[in-house]
């Protein structure tokens, strides 16, 4: 009896997928696959030789790649895939869950806000050599945060998938550039006009797509985005086409230009001129614009219009049965989202001093949408985190010069940014399919504020 018992145990061990032998076997299969595939891709190399091509065998690289895959697969099997207590589960347990994240999100937001407030001085103090580069990056990130918040109204709150958001960015930028070029209007006067014009375009775009849902809505908005860009590209007499518009005026500080010499900002306040002052000024402009966007969005969420947007995302037919004019509600979402896009565009124009249609390709729309989706639809903090990670992360790759010492002098990490970007996106979507911050905060509370899990919240049209 004892014999059969132990035999059984051995048999179970042999059949147990979590046993060490099974893990090794699995890793060996993976290594074999790499040996077959890698033989041609890694093991053989063609070199130009006199009189044609020369085949060179790279056995070393081939064997190393097999060993790397074998070891990697074995480790994965032992610690994640074929074990009773995967490491990932421990990580997941250590990570705060959706509802527990609520308090963290609040504190995170305050910390981020405090840091953003003093950011330029932080960099000028601690990184005096690289302050210009860092503040410029902060301006870029802040622009994307603002764009993300603007798009969040349309996609996150109203649930209307807009793949052509960059069109409003372009309308804002070109509005200011053209107003400055033809009418000689300054930044501060052009800023609201650019917002209004973009909002009008939002309504113009919104009308035809009101009846569309889902994939059709996404395709048509994408087409509208491209139409705007193509018009800007081809209307040469008016927009200067692919040559773009240059010499766009810089913003002034209550009429004071941030320039060297007489009558400038530094001269007026009696401080020494430093080119960094202009960057700090630009940073605070976009910071305040982004704050306004956030403030208005948060306020609107607590107003009937914001609740109607979210209700529209949840169930359009029920909205209509409650007397909500869904047409107007959708149009306000489109136009307010577009307005913030217009503000951001106008800021973009004044920061760059030069714009061309090339800055407003579909890739921009995709990045903004990715920021919103990664951050979590409808989440304001999520957009901030996603912007910092995506825009900041890609730019930081440029600074990883030390990697050249590891991978050789030809290594340029920027070339791999799309690869890393894609990988990060896949990981986040696997780990948190509804974005980083996926819970929803109720807009009105009777007794106790309870965050609503992502599984309850509808995603609206086109998801």
């Amino acid at each position: 009896m004892a014999m059969t018992g132990s035999n059984k145990a051995v048999a179970a061990q042999q059949n147990d997928p979590n046993s060490f032998a099974a893990s090794v076997k699995d890793a060996a299969i993976a290594g074999l696959l790499v040996a077959v595939l890698g033989f041609f891709f890694i093991g053989i190399r063609t070199d130009i030789a006199p009189g044609g091509l020369d085949l060179k065998m790279r056995w070393g690289a081939w064997i190393i790649s097999i060993l790397v895959v074998f070891a990697g697969r074995l480790l994965l099997n032992l610690f994640v895939l074929r074990t009773d207590s995967p490491l990932t589960r421990k990580f997941a347990d250590a990570m705060p869950s959706g509802t527990r994240f609520a308090g963290t999100g609040k504190w995170l937001m305050r910390a981020l806000f405090a840091f953003a407030l003093v950011l330029p001085f932080f960099f000028t103090t601690f990184f005096p050599g690289k302050d210009r580069q860092f503040i410029d990056l902060a301006i870029l990130i802040m622009t994307y945060i603002m764009l993300g918040w603007g798009l969040n109204i349309v996609v996150g709150l109203a649930g209307l998938l807009d793949l052509g958001y960059v069109a409003f960015y372009a309308v804002g930028a070109y509005s200011f550039a053209l107003l400055a070029q033809y009418l000689d209007i300054g930044f501060w006067f052009a800023l609201p006009l650019a917002g209004i014009l973009a909002a009008c375009w939002g309504i113009v775009l919104g009308f035809p797509v009101l009846r569309l849902r889902g994939d059709y809505l996404a395709i048509v908005t994408l087409a509208f985005g491209e139409i705007i860009r193509v018009v800007l590209l081809n209307w040469y007499e008016f927009t200067n086409g692919p040559d773009g518009i240059s010499g766009i005026p810089k913003p002034t500080f209550f009429g004071l230009e941030l320039k060297r010499g007489e009558g400038g900002f530094a001269d007026f306040f009696g401080i020494a001129y430093d080119p960094i002052q202009r960057f700090i000024f630009l940073y605070y402009i976009i910071f305040i614009l982004a704050l306004i966007t956030n403030f208005v969005t948060m306020r609107l969420r607590r107003l009937p219009i914001g609740r109607a947007w979210e209700a529209l995302r949840e169930d359009e037919i029920a909205c209509r049965s409650l007397g909500i004019n869904t047409r107007n509600t959708k149009l306000t979402a489109f136009s307010i989202g577009a307005m913030f896009g217009g503000f951001a565009g106008s800021f973009f124009a004044t920061r760059q001093g030069f714009i061309s249609p090339e800055s407003f390709t579909f890739l921009e729309s995709a990045i903004i949408l990715a920021i919103v989706v990664l951050g979590g639809l409808g989440s304001q903090v999520g957009v901030v985190i996603a912007s910092v990670v995506m825009i900041g992360g890609i730019e930081m790759l440029r600074n990883l010069g030390f990697l050249q010492q590891v991978f050789g002098s030809g290594f340029d990490p920027v070339q791999y940014r799309m690869l890393i970007f894609g990988l990060a996106m896949v990981l986040i979507m696997v780990w948190k399919p509804r974005g980083l911050i996926s819970t929803r905060e109720p807009s009105v509370v009777l007794k106790e504020k309870k965050r609503i899990g992502a599984d309850m919240v509808a995603q609206g049209e086109g998801h």
């Binding site: 107003l303 979210e310 037919i317 049965s321 007397g323 909500i324």
Partner: protein, 562 residues
């Protein structure tokens, strides 16, 4: 108002819904391509009444709802919503001619709903609705759901969001009032403890209540509920009844509801409208509708004992039995009278030998007596059975049906002796291929009469009630035509189907209910879903058990499908 309430339900000549309708649907037709979902439907919904719209599945009830609430644009017809008492007929006519959508009048206002978009119907005409498949904003809290319902007044209070963004105190006050109203309805729907939970988290019954609360937050004058009791347990149903009565009595809101739960309908409805295939077949107080034979026939999908009482059916039967019109009254009661007839015959001492071509006066007298008894008895029994308010219509009819069921075989056996035989003698002159049964006015109906035999084949007749759509009454009529077996029905061609359909006075139903297809399956010894239920005794209107000859089972694999 006092006069109106006292007259309610008592004065049949001008019921409340005709005198003071809050909603009038006039000649409403809704076509989807070739399908007429609702055909020329007219009805009134009384102010302060709970009106139930009932009917079998696919009768067009939800289509009517969608037309009233603007989700469909009716093909034809007028839908008038009235604020303020009375019909305001002059204002309605002027409004109709003016081409406007609504008009304020001395008494209030009138609205033409067929001209208004859905959101205006809720906002302006104050018609709120709920949905058959609950449509809550699942990711929003219960309280938020109720605030969304108050969107329009809050939008005005927030200065169309501008004042709200600036944080004006007037908006805060308006929002507090909205929350108070929401809490009021949460208290009355017993949901106040769940106010901060997402709506999708609520159990089913609570979601149904929340949907009603949400509709009430729009301050409607007419509340349209699409199957509010669907999926509720008896206790929840009872609570729903109380809620609806409260809404009607305390808030003076008229309620129009679609409901399949007859317990709810019969208990709370002041007025019941019955639809079948897009046509109104009955309209009146609950008591009246409940006993309307047309309703029973349509609602249960098969003919009932009571339909035999309908004059046109009686006439047809008279023709079948070959009696002269004078004898109609006495001879046309075979179905219901059979049992009593037997008793009467014993009493009169007759040997009950009615094989001859002429009838004895004794038999005639017995028939007359029986019909007299029938005229009073079933009706009283039925109304007494229906007195417990919670009993369902189905249950009521089922009980009367069960009483009738034992009678049926007797008549089936008796009829060929009394009716078919003498007729057969006369029919011998007709074409040999034609039915052995001669119907006096067979030519009056389109199509051709199906072949019938005088007697069932050896082994007895099939239980035709196992075909969905054939009840005992129809079975009797079919037997009278010489149709005894499933294979006879299975052999019907289009012309025969048309003839029988028109003869049985329900053209189109045979095709719709697919008698021929069912009969084909049954004739082969197969089973349909319906016949299985009949055999288990689950179908009140069919005769359970294995009465009659069972078709020989050829293959089990060929078993029928629903």
């Amino acid at each position: 108002m006092d006069a109106a309430t006292t007259m309610k339900n008592s004065d049949q000549s001008t019921p409340n819904w005709d005198r003071d309708p809050v909603l009038s649907v006039e000649h409403l037709t809704m076509r989807f391509g070739g399908l007429v979902a609702v055909g020329d439907l007219s009805f009134n919904v009384g102010r302060g009444d709970i009106t139930a719209l009932i009917g079998p599945n696919g009768a067009g009830k939800t289509t009517v709802f969608n037309c009233v609430t603007g989700f469909y644009k009716p093909t034809e017809g007028r839908i008038v919503m009235r604020h303020g008492p009375g019909r305001q007929q002059d204002d309605v006519e002027t409004l109709t001619d003016s081409g406007q959508r609504w008009k304020t009048t001395g008494n209030g206002a009138v609205y033409l709903l067929e001209r208004m978009p859905d959101h205006e119907i809720s906002h302006k005409a104050k018609v709120a609705r709920t949905f058959q498949n609950i449509r809550l904003f699942g990711g929003m809290t219960v309280l938020e759901n109720l605030l969304v319902a108050q969107h329009n007044p809050l939008m005005v209070a927030s200065g169309f969001s501008i004042g709200g963004i600036l944080g004006l105190p007037s908006y805060k006050k308006a929002q507090q009032e909205a929350v108070d109203r929401a809490v009021y309805w949460l208290e009355h729907t017993n949901l106040v403890d769940r106010a901060d939970d997402p709506a999708a988290d609520l159990p089913y019954g609570a979601q149904r209540r929340l949907e009603i609360a949400r509709a009430m937050c729009t301050k409607p004058q007419l509340l349209c509920l699409d199957e509010p009791a669907a999926g509720l347990n008896p206790r929840e149903s009872a609570e729903l009844n109380e809620l609806l009565k409260y809404i009607r009595d305390e808030h003076k809101v008229s309620v129009l509801l679609i409901e399949h739960d007859m317990g709810v309908v019969m208990e709370i409805s002041d007025h019941v409208i019955v639809l079948d295939y897009g046509v109104k077949i009955s309209d009146g107080p609950a008591e009246f509708v409940k006993n309307d034979p047309k309703v029973i026939a349509a609602y249960l999908g098969v003919d009932d004992e009571a339909e035999i009482d309908m004059p046109e059916v009686r006439e047809d039967l008279a023709k079948v039995t070959g009696d002269e019109p004078a004898k109609k009254a006495s001879a046309s009661k075979p179905a219901s009278a059979a049992k009593k007839q037997g008793a009467a015959e014993k009493k009169s001492g007759s040997a009950s030998k009615k094989t001859g071509a002429t009838k004895t006066s004794a038999a005639k007298a017995a028939g007359a007596k029986a019909s007299a008894a029938k005229a009073t008895k079933p009706r009283t029994s039925k109304s007494s059975a229906s007195k417990p308010a919670t009993s369902k219509l189905a249950a009521t009819t089922a009980s009367s049906e069960k009483a009738a069921a034992p009678a049926a075989p007797k008549t089936v056996a008796a009829k060929p002796k009394t009716a078919a035989k003498p007729k057969a003698a006369a029919a011998s002159k007709a074409a040999p291929a034609a039915s052995e049964i001669k119907i006096a006015n067979a030519g009056d109906y389109p199509g051709s009469q199906p072949h019938g035999t005088k007697k069932p084949r050896a082994g007895g007749a099939n239980n035709l009630t196992r075909v969905k759509g054939i009840g005992p009454a129809n079975e009797k009529k079919l037997n009278a035509l010489g149709i005894w077996h499933f294979d006879q029905i299975a052999a019907w061609k289009k012309a025969e189907v048309q003839w029988v359909g028109s003869y049985l006075a329900f053209p189109g139903r045979i095709e719709r209910e697919e008698w021929v297809k069912q009969a084909k399956v049954l004739a082969k010894g197969g089973e349909t879903e319906f016949s299985k239920r009949v055999d288990k005794g689950q179908v009140a209107t069919s005769v359970p058990g294995k009465r009659g000859a069972q078709p020989k089972k050829k293959t089990t694999a060929k078993g029928g499908k629903a």
